[in-house]
Amino acid sequence: MTNDPPKLDEQDLVDLSVGCTVLAGGGGGDPRIGLLMALNAVRRTGPVPLIDLDSLAADDLVVPAGMIGAPTVMVEKIPNGNEGDVIRAAFEARLNRPVAALMPLEMGGINGVLPVAWAAHAGLPLVDGDLMGRAFPELQMCTPHLYDIPSWPCVVVDERSQVITFEPRDNVWLERLARNAVSTLGGCACAGLYPMDARTAATPLLRGTVSRAVQIGRTIRTATDDPFRALDAQVDLYPLLTGKVVDVDRRTAGGFVRGSAVVEGIEHDAGRLVRIEFQNENLVAMEDGEALATVPDIITLLDRHSARGIVTEHIRYGQRVVVGVFRAPDQWRSERGLSVVGPRAFGYDLDYVPVEDRHARVG
């Protein structure tokens, strides 16, 4: 044992981005831009320390951060890289105390990787944890919201280093205000929100999710035989169906990509038909009018051969997939949690049934 925390090196970042696509549940965008930013940053500054929340003092300030807006805009208007420094400076000026560490807002898609780039630039460590344990589309869909911990002050910064600070009356208002500001800024921006001292963060924090995502990516990369079995040994995997995509429907509504994908069973699942509905993230998996799985459990289309995750933008006809489900963090399965991210929060008149009550694991 040494006292030095582990550090995220280049291989870890590649594995992290693969893990983030598995945990994204189809949303959060392709992590590629975030990965390239993080790799470039780490090549300059060296690996980023990944710390346990408990290694911080109780009063130390932790700032969760991520991009908000359209991943489809970010593939053109790539961030500056300095956003972490600007967010840090804005919080330090506002709260008159130093920022001790950054943390990912969500552990899915591009946002699982971007904060590594910002931490490298800002010379800060990254806390091993996040506030979603997956990807979700809205800013109140974060664990601190379940404990009435405020999301503000929230700092939104664009690539011109313009800073907007929000002090809304509640977390849902932040979602509305920030969404509009981001639209004005050109469709995507970067944000720090839910600033907490380490003591406060201890309750909502989903611990160890960064290293878990790295481990998922490493497992997929190094699995010699059956990557699904290896993945199941690492993070319980409930496969709903092995099949191929036979229909994809995507449309934009209310600022989100909504749609569905139909997967037709192959191999031992021949004859079955499962429909996945998504709003950025995959929300429900239906078969014969019945829900097989719903949010907040994580429904991800995994490549049939490599077990890599497929984000909704990249689903296409003919892909061979395993529709896999991972258990949501326990905080989302509470009554309060389900009121925020359960099926009814997304407009489905369905009861949430935990995936393990309905399905068997890989083995």
Partner: protein
């Protein structure tokens, strides 16, 4: 002025073989010839021309059009040769500086291609509004610094498919600093949304301008040597034609022409417009989908020589199933490829007296093909039968993967190695094995039509969707006609609309392609 169409020569210069055909104005095949590809382009094309001209016994004056498909650009990138040194200008600071140009390139290719890079202020928002004012002086300073080593310039701006103004201003600066002759590539004409992939495509395009000159000069010299005074074209990624001046500006668009020609040739030979096409070569097979007579294009980025790009390429599934594919392992645990004996098939395969089991041997053992000495497979029957089952499985999966819809479609089989394929494929209505399948690619070049394309992001801003769509269609048709398509026969062959998420003002990306046969005057 395009002359009236009489006899046409189609040539496909592949990695292994150069094929040539002559068609008359009714598309009847008058001659075909297959010969090994030579390192020297002019002499290879010349001998192909002489061979087919000898077969038809008609005056060369009757040759009105020559169409060439070539993998030269692809090979130049794969082999890192004949590439120009490119000065790379990205317009997007203060955005994008976190990922500099060339970030995701293989080191060796970057060293060959880069003459230096800079990220200057400018670019556009998704709405077309400038991000920040354009950094004209920064561009000039950079060009003065790298001017001695730069042989070409690649310019890419943030959201240039929405507003290309800053890229065009940068081009003016290049003309002022480096003069009128240096080749300049602008990303707006080359790739779609996705800055890094479009920039990569733009850099490759600039690097290939030298190769394009070689190919164009090779072709025109060969035509002159044979006394042929015809309109010459090259074929591009979508299976349509580009004039030689266009080739010099957009050489990167020839990269997918090989498989595109095969698919277009298959379409013509089998007389189908919607089908799966399997083109079997010596080392691998390409499986693609014909829609309305054209190869379906890929919707995901394509890797070329280790570089991720996003210009349109035929959507292909490549599998290690070819005539020379090696078979190893045992009957219980067989391995098929990816290694191949390639052009040494006639020395190394069992049926030709060699010692290496290949899929050609498996086809002979399985009664699908007769070549060489069928008795030579004795003792390998179980291994070869297992290999054939495995190869069939790869073909079944690839065929199914490439289909767009659930219903059964015809499958067209072309290419020299196609005898190894099974007589039946699940999910396929029927298998078509057309005559002259071995020169499908040269025929694909000869029958190529002329196209025009529009790929732009439109702000609806008060206009309705149909109005914007009509504008885009008219522009695509105009482009096809000005490239030589028959105005009476040009039609819209593809329309794609992609709405952008998270924006309050409606913005839509529209991609339209029009195509038509060459005008007959």
């Amino acid at each position: 002025m395009p002359g009236s169409v009489d006899l046409r020569i189609g040539i496909d210069v592949g990695g292994t073989n150069t094929d040539a055909v002559v068609l008359d104005s009714a598309n009847r095949l008058l001659a075909k010839h297959k010969t090994p590809t030579t390192p020297d382009l002019t002499s290879g094309i010349t001998s192909a021309l002489e061979a087919v001209l000898g077969q038809i016994d008609q005056p060369v004056e009757r040759i009105t059009h020559v169409m060439l498909g070539t993998t030269h650009a692809t090979n130049a990138i794969l082999e890192r040769r004949d590439l120009l040194k490119v000065a790379v200008v990205r317009i997007g600071a203060p955005a994008t500086v976190s990922i500099p140009p060339f970030s995701d390139w293989p080191d060796d290719l970057r060293q060959v291609v880069s003459a230096g890079e800079v990220v200057v202020p400018g670019g556009s928002e998704v709405t077309g509004v400038p991000l920040v004012p354009f950094g004209r002086d920064e561009v000039a300073r950079f060009l003065e610094k790298v001017g001695d080593s730069a042989e070409a310039v690649a310019i890419s701006g943030v959201f240039s498919p929405v507003s290309g103004d800053h890229e065009q201003e940068a081009e003016q600066v290049v003309r002022e600093v480096l003069g009128p002759d240096i080749p300049v590539s602008l990303s707006q004409g080359i790739g779609a949304l996705g800055l890094l992939e479009r920039e990569n495509a733009c850099i490759l395009n600039a690097a290939l301008v030298g190769v394009a000159h070689k190919v164009v000069h090779g072709l025109t010299a060969a035509l002159a040597q044979n006394g042929i005074d015809a309109v010459a074209f090259l074929t591009q990624n979508d299976g349509t034609l580009m004039g030689l001046d266009y080739v010099l500006r957009f050489p990167v668009l020839t990269i997918g022409s090989g498989p595109a020609n095969s698919m277009r040739g298959a379409c013509y030979l089998a007389d189908v417009s919607d089908a799966v096409v399997v083109d079997v070569g010596g080392t691998s097979s390409d499986v693609g989908m014909l829609l309305n007579g054209f190869p379906r294009e890929s919707s995901t980025p394509t890797d070329i020589g280790g570089v991720r790009t996003n210009f349109r390429m035929p959507d292909l599934v490549a599998i290690a199933v070819g005539g020379g594919t090696r078979v190893t392992g045992s009957a219980e645990d067989v391995r098929v490829g990816p290694e191949s004996v390639g052009y040494r098939l006639r020395e190394e395969a069992l049926v030709f007296g060699g010692a290496t089991p290949t899929l050609s041997d498996a086809a002979v053992a399985g009664g699908r093909a007769s070549m060489g000495d069928a008795g030579a497979v004795a003792g390998h029957e179980e291994l070869l039968a297992a290999a054939l089952r495995r190869a069939d499985e790869l073909v079944f999966v690839a065929t199914d993967q490439i289909k767009t819809a659930r219903g059964p479609v015809p499958l067209v089989v072309v290419g020299g190695g196609s005898v190894i394929l099974p007589p039946e494929v699940p999910g396929v209505a029927q298998i078509v094995r057309p005559e002259n399948y071995d020169v499908a690619n040269a025929i694909g070049a000869a029958i190529a039509s002329v196209s025009g394309q529009v790929d732009k992001v439109f702000k609806l801003a008060g206009r309705d969707r149909q109005e914007v769509l009509d504008l885009a269609c008219a522009a695509a048709k105009d482009e096809a006609i000005s490239a030589g398509a028959d105005p009476a026969a040009v039609e819209i062959v593809e329309v794609e609309e992609v709405p952008m998420a998270y924006l309050t003002e409606p913005v839509v990306r529209i991609r339209v392609k029009a195509a038509g046969p060459l005008g007959r005057m």
